[in-house]
Symmetry: C2
Subunit: 444 residues, 2 copies
C-alpha cells in the first residue's frame, strides 16, 4: 500500500518554501492568492508559506505583478533547491511536466498538480515516486476544478463500495451542448460562440473530442475502484458529430444530450467483477439530476453501496476554481511538511480487470431513414433480434421520401449494437442512418 513516511515535520512556525511551475491563468491566480491571503495561509498551515521561485517558459515576457527575482526558466534546478519543500505544477502537457514532476518527487518535494493528462497517463509512476520519497502527491484540481471529487473518493468514501461514477466533467462541451439545446443552433455555430466567450480554446480538440473528459474518467475510475486506470483504458468519443437534429430528436424523447464520463463496476452472474470507463455523448432523461447542469458547470454523480446517491456540482474549470482546488491541496501538503506525516498514497489493491468497450452494456437511440417498401420494418427488427437486442420503443413516421424509424433499444453489449448498426448500414432498404447516440441514466 503506502510506504510509511519518516517525515517528522519541520516544526510549528517553520517556513514552507513553494515553487510554482507555470504562470498561466491558474499559476497567476495561485500566486496572487498566496500573496493576498498570506496570513490566513500561515494560520491554517501552522507556518508561513513563501513562494521562492516561479518557472516559466519565456523569461523575457513582462509579468507586472510578479517579483522578477522569482522568475526562472530552469524548472529542473528550481525543484531541486534546498529552500523548496513543495512544488505546484500548473504547466500542462504531458512529457515535460512528467520529467519535472518526477525530478521534484525524487528530490523529496511534495507535489500538487492540476494536470489531468499527466495524472491519467503516468499516475502510477508518479505515485510510486511519491511513495518512495515519502512525500505527498495531490491532484484535486485535475478533475472538476473546485468541485471536491478526488478528496471525497480518496477519503470520505474510503469505507464504502463505489459502484458508479457518472460526470459532466468538461465545461467547454457542456456549454456547447447546452447552448445547442436552448437555441436549436448547430454545432459549429455554438463552438464559435464558446470560443468567442472564452469557454473554448483556440484549438478546442482536446475538449470537443472528449480527451480531457477521458483523462478525468481515468482518474475517477482509478480512485473509485482502487485499480490503476490510464487514459488509454478509456473509450473516448467527442461531440463534434452532434447535430441540431440530434438535439431535436433528444427533445422529442424528453431527453437532452450531455457528454458523459461513465465509470462503472459490473458483476457477472458468476460473481466476477470488472470495471469500465468511457466517454461519449449520450441522451439523458430531463428528470435526471445531470440533465439540469447548465452552461459550463460540471457535476459528478456517484452511487455507492452504503452512501446511496451523491451529487457534487459546481465550476469545473476556470482560473479561480482551479486555483481553489490547488490551494486546498497546498494547505494539506504544507500542513504535513510542518507537522509531519503524509497522506496515504494511491490505493490500487483491487486491480480489477478493465472491460474492453465492446463488452460494456449500453443502450442505443437510432434514427433511420428507410425506403418505404413492404417488409422494411420487419427486416430492420430482425437485424436487431439476430444480434440478441430487444427493442424498448419504435416510432415510425412516413413521408413521401420513405419513412423515418426512431428506435430505442434495451441494454445490450456495445459489440452487438455496433454489429447491428453495421448490418443496418449495409441493408439497401436503409437509406441513411441519421444518428446513433447512446442513452444513459434511464434507471434513475
Amino acid at each position: 500500500m503506502t510506504a510509511a513516511t519518516n517525515n517528522p515535520g519541520k516544526g510549528e512556525g517553520q517556513k514552507v518554501g513553494v515553487a510554482i511551475l507555470g504562470l498561466g491563468t491558474v499559476g497567476t491566480e495561485v500566486l496572487r492568492l498566496l500573496n493576498e491571503k498570506s496570513e490566513d495561509f500561515e494560520r491554517r498551515i501552522g507556518g508561513p508559506v513563501e513562494v521562492v521561485g516561479v518557472a516559466v517558459s519565456d523569461k523575457s515576457k513582462p509579468r507586472p505583478n510578479v517579483n522578477p527575482d522569482l522568475i526562472t526558466d530552469d524548472a529542473f534546478s528550481l525543484v531541486q533547491r534546498d529552500d523548496v519543500d513543495l512544488v505546484i505544477e500548473v504547466i500542462g502537457g504531458i512529457d515535460y511536466p512528467r520529467r519535472v514532476v518526477l525530478e521534484a518527487l525524487r528530490a523529496g518535494k511534495s507535489v500538487v498538480t492540476a494536470n489531468k493528462a499527466l495524472v491519467a497517463a503516468h499516475g502510477a509512476e508518479l505515485s510510486d515516486a511519491a511513495d518512495s520519497s515519502g512525500v505527498d502527491l495531490f491532484f484535486e484540481a485535475a478533475v472538476a476544478a473546485a468541485i471536491p471529487v478526488v478528496g471525497p473518493l480518496r477519503r470520505s468514501l474510503a469505507g464504502d463500495t463505489v459502484n458508479k461514477v457518472v460526470g459532466i466533467v468538461n465545461g467547454t462541451t457542456n456549454f456547447i451542448l447546452d447552448a445547442m439545446d436552448s437555441t436549436g443552433a448547430d454545432y459549429q455555430e455554438m463552438l464559435a460562440e464558446a470560443t468567442r466567450l472564452g469557454y473554448a480554446e483556440a484549438d478546442p480538440t482536446s475538449d470537443v473530442e472528449g480527451h480531457d473528459a477521458a483523462s478525468k474518467a481515468a482518474i475517477l475510475a482509478g480512485l473509485a475502484f482502487h485499480t490503476r486506470v490510464t487514459a488509454a483504458d478509456v473509450y473516448c468519443e467527442g461531440i463534434s458529430k452532434i447535430t441540431a437534429e440530434d438535439i431535436a430528436a433528444a427533445k422529442s424523447a424528453d431527453c437532452t444530450i450531455k457528454l458523459l464520463a461513465t465509470c462503472e463496476r459490473v458483476v457477472d452472474e458468476d460473481g466476477s467483477e470488472a470495471i469500465s470507463a468511457r466517454v461519449y455523448p449520450a441522451l439523458i432523461p430531463r428528470r435526471h439530476p445531470l440533465a439540469t447542469v447548465r452552461e459550463s458547470f460540471n457535476a459528478v454523480f456517484i452511487e455507492a453501496e452504503a452512501a446511496g446517491r451523491l451529487m457534487f456540482y459546481g465550476n469545473g474549470a476556470g482560473g479561480n476554481p482551479t486555483a481553489s482546488a490547488v490551494l486546498g491541496d497546498l494547505v494539506a501538503a504544507a500542513r504535513n511538511i510542518v507537522h509531519g506525516g503524509r497522506a496515504p498514497g494511491d490505493s490500487t489493491y483491487a486491480n480489477l480487470p478493465i472491460l474492453d468497450f465492446g463488452q460494456v452494456r449500453t443502450r442505443y437511440h437510432i434514427d433511420l431513414h428507410v425506403d418505404d417498401r413492404v417488409g422494411v420494418l420487419a427486416d430492420v427488427a430482425r437485424t436487431f433480434s439476430d444480434n440478441g437486442i430487444s427493442l424498448r420503443t419504435v416510432r415510425q413516421e412516413g413521408s413521401d421520401e420513405g419513412a423515418r424509424l426512431v428506435i430505442v433499444t434495451h441494454q445490450a453489449l456495445e459489440k452487438e449494437l455496433e454489429d447491428t448498426v453495421e448490418q443496418l448500414r449495409a441493408n439497401d432498404a436503409v437509406l441513411a442512418v441519421n444518428n446513433v447516440i447512446r442513452i444513459e441514466g434511464m434507471d434513475v
Copy 2:
C-alpha cells in the same frame, strides 16, 4: 493551531482495535460492514481492523448477529483498554457521550463520531482533548450523513475563503415540507405520514423544531469561518407553525418553503467581519438549486471566493448513509494509527464575532388580513418606512371581510423587521397576521 503528534504509527500490517459505542441502526450497520468487507478495509488501511468490544445500554437484549463476547455495558472501561486504538461513538445524546468520548481521547484513542449534538455543544473541549493526546477526532457523519461536507470544508476549501453555507440538512423536515408542497396537505397530516414511513421519530421535536439542523449549522459555520460556533450561537426556528396556506402563498410567489440552515460571513462598510448562523423555514425561489431537493434528501450549497458556487447533494440520514460516513472517517483514522501522524485539528484562529440574530439582514414575506377602511394601506406602508424597511412587492386583494395584503420586503435587519411586525399586530386595522416567513436565495 494543532499540537504536532508524536504518533510514529504501529507499522504496516499491525492490527487496529476498534470499540463501537452504541448498537442502534448506525452501530449495527457499521459492525456489519466491518465484518462483511474486512478484506477491503485491511487493504485500504494497511492493516487488519478488529472490533474488540461493543458497548450497549442493555446487555440482556438479544442481538442475533453479534458475537456475545464483544458486548459490554461498561463503555468507560472499554475505551481505556490497551487493545483499543479507535473508538466509534454512535450512541447519541450529549452528556453521557461527552464523558465517554473525553475518556477515550484522554486515554489516547482516536475517535470517530456521528453525534451532531455533542460536537455542536462541546466541539471545542473535545478538539482540545484530541490535540493534547495527539489523536484524531473525526465527525463527517454528524452533518448530512453520507454527503461529504465536513471533509470538503476542512480540507478541499482550506485554501479558499468561504462566504456562505446554506443547507437543507434535516431529512424529516424536508420530507414533510416537500409532501405539503406536492399534496397541499397540512402539517399534522404530513408529520403523521412521515412518522408512518419512518422519516420521523416517535418524538420528532429535535427534527421539526430545528434543533438537529441548528447543531449541524453550528458545525458547518465553525468549519467554514475558522471560528468556534456552538449550538447556542445558532438562531433556531422549526416548521411546526407552517400551514398549507403558507405553502400555497409560496407557490403564488413562485417559491417553495424549505427549512434552511444558513451560515454567512458579513463585512461591514468599515471592513470589519462577523458571522451568523441561523435555522428557520424560508421561501426559496423554485429556480434555486436547493428548491429541487425532494423528499428526505439533503443538500449543502457553498459559496467561496475562488471556487464560486458548489453544491453537494445526497442522503442526509439513514443507517447506511451515516455508516458510510463513519467508515470513511474510520479508514482515515486507522491509516494514521498504522502509518503514523494525524490529521490537523480544528482551525479556529479567525475567531470572528458572531452576530446577534437581530443584526442579521433578512427579508420577509408577510401576509396580512386588514380591515377594508380608508388609509389602511398607507398606514401599513408607513409602519415599514418608519422602521427603515423598503418594500419589494405589495399585492392587495379585496374581499367582503376586508383585504388581504401580501408584502415582500427588501433586505433589512431582523430587528427592524421584528419591530415592524409587532407594530402591525398592535394596529387595530390589522385584523390578522396570517404568516411571516423569511425569504432566502433571491440573489441566485
